[in-house]
Symmetry: C2
Subunit: 259 residues, 2 copies
DNA sequence: CGGCTTATTGAGTGCGTTCAACCGGTGTGG
DNA sequence: CCACACCGGTTGAACGCACTCAATAAGCCG
């Protein structure tokens, strides 16, 4: 049973913080926490909050896993070593996302999590989360949902494999746009929190290709670009990149029988 | 509370079957079921088993989600529509794997699951699974572990983005080899259950490239190939493809500061 | 100012695609 | 029985996208 309301900080940078229910009630862009509140009918689950500056590392791959993290604000990137030992970015995260989902399996972090800007995350001790879930079926289901959601997101990344550069980039831009819309921000104008190198690494393209593609999109009038500030001027054209092949070359490599 | 030992079949092809604990005790290559047995100290959780022939579809994307499935024997592929509506294979599954993990989030199947050969799967009603987990903390944690494991697997697929064709193929072959070893089969000689088209689709390469790469691997003496029967003759060379670039061209597109 | 990082642009190369032909096995029907 | 179509797989030749290498520009910071 969880009976703590305030809990001492677990790390040097952690500070004591209020219980989840108070905050969750005020922030609907925090889906998982909403049902943590449900759990708190039985237990008062307290968390520490933690501030990160740009380039700060929240946790590193292979470190022992004890905490999950919920992003309060800010953006992060998670990376894993690729076949050559070089980091490959597997995901970008923003407010409301639950982090370290991939660490449960081995009990050690699979990814390294790095802040792309100033962030605040909430530390959720996994053991206490388990206890809370044991007492609250809705919380447990919500947690399953978060894990399942992450699987769906990773699958979507796998679809990049059969896309060309323009399609991958358009896909990322539209995805970021949706993310911002879901969180109540403008999906038309936003700031790319990650560098060109990060984008290229994530999409499996080089930094030069990213630069060229962004330039092409700008010249075509589909986007406006000012440093990392981006404006999506022509949603439809960007979306149409993903439906029909831009060159008219339809190949469908390895077509299958079951859609 | 789950109080059924035998449960009527839910589908036309389903047949009544024994309770999980009996079988799980006899089959260690069924990781999730092992801890289902744990749950059965409290409840008798019965399942239907279902046979599939090659090319049979277990469930289709967008269908309502009610069942999870545990693979008893056989292999399957799961696919999702890509940006052009064409199916893209996101994973291959074999005995012991838990299916439909990606359906929890929306309550509808995200993928279409198709048998690559004769299969038997166990139907696990998700609602009953939830009840069982509510009564058994170890089962719940085991389930989290399975979900987390799936996330890690999907992440590994994302690493293909920065690999060339030979690296992707070698990676798949070695992964399949490990899968068979884990299940007590030979990791050196096995049968590719999937077509060249499936492999190409999964890896993001064309069928011609797969054929050429397999031919090259054979000519180099790294593998022996007879139709779909494959023998890995030189593990080390295949692995070395993944550590250092075979051409000597080290690029590391988009190198980052945090490994 | 110099040094560094990030981003842009250009020219040439190569890997994987594209299009095409071909092969072996299998099933089907006259 | 053979002729034929069909499917999965292999092989060849040419093209094109993205990589590679290189040079340049624009910020940022000490």
């Amino acid at each position: 049973m969880i009976d703590l309301v305030l809990q001492p900080g677990m790390s040097a940078t952690a500070r004591p913080v209020a219980t989840i229910p108070d905050c969750a009630a005020r922030d609907l862009r925090f889906p998982f926490a909403i049902d943590v509140r449900e759990a708190c009918r039985f237990d008062a689950l307290a968390v520490d909050r933690r501030r990160l500056a740009c380039d700060d590392v929240l946790f590193r791959g292979d470190q022992p896993f004890a905490m999950m993290y919920a992003v309060r604000f800010g953006s992060l990137k998670s990376s894993r070593p690729d076949h050559r030992g070089q980091p490959h970015i597997t995901a970008f995260h923003m407010s409301g996302d639950l982090l370290a989902l991939d660490a449960i399996y081995t009990g050690r972090h699979a990814s390294t999590m790095c802040a792309l800007e100033d962030c605040e995350v909430w530390e959720l001790p996994y053991g206490r989360l388990l206890e809370a879930m044991h007492n609250s079926a809705p919380l447990m289901q919500r947690f399953h949902s978060a894990l399942s959601h992450e699987i769906v997101r990773e699958q979507a990344v796998a679809l990049y494999a059969n896309m060309n550069g323009a399609e991958r980039l358009a896909s990322l831009l539209l995805d970021l746009s949706s993310q911002y819309i879901e969180r109540g921000y403008s999906g038309r104008r936003f700031r790319l929190r990650m560098s060109r190198a990060d984008i290229g690494n994530y999409l499996g393209l080089t930094i030069e290709t990213i630069s060229r593609l962004l330039g092409r999109f700008r010249n075509e009038g589909w986007i406006a670009l000012h440093k990392r500030e981006i404006e999506l001027l022509d949603y439809e054209r960007l979306k149409s990149l993903l439906i029909s092949a831009p060159t008219g070359l339809e190949s469908h490599q390895g077509v299958l029988s079951h859609p």
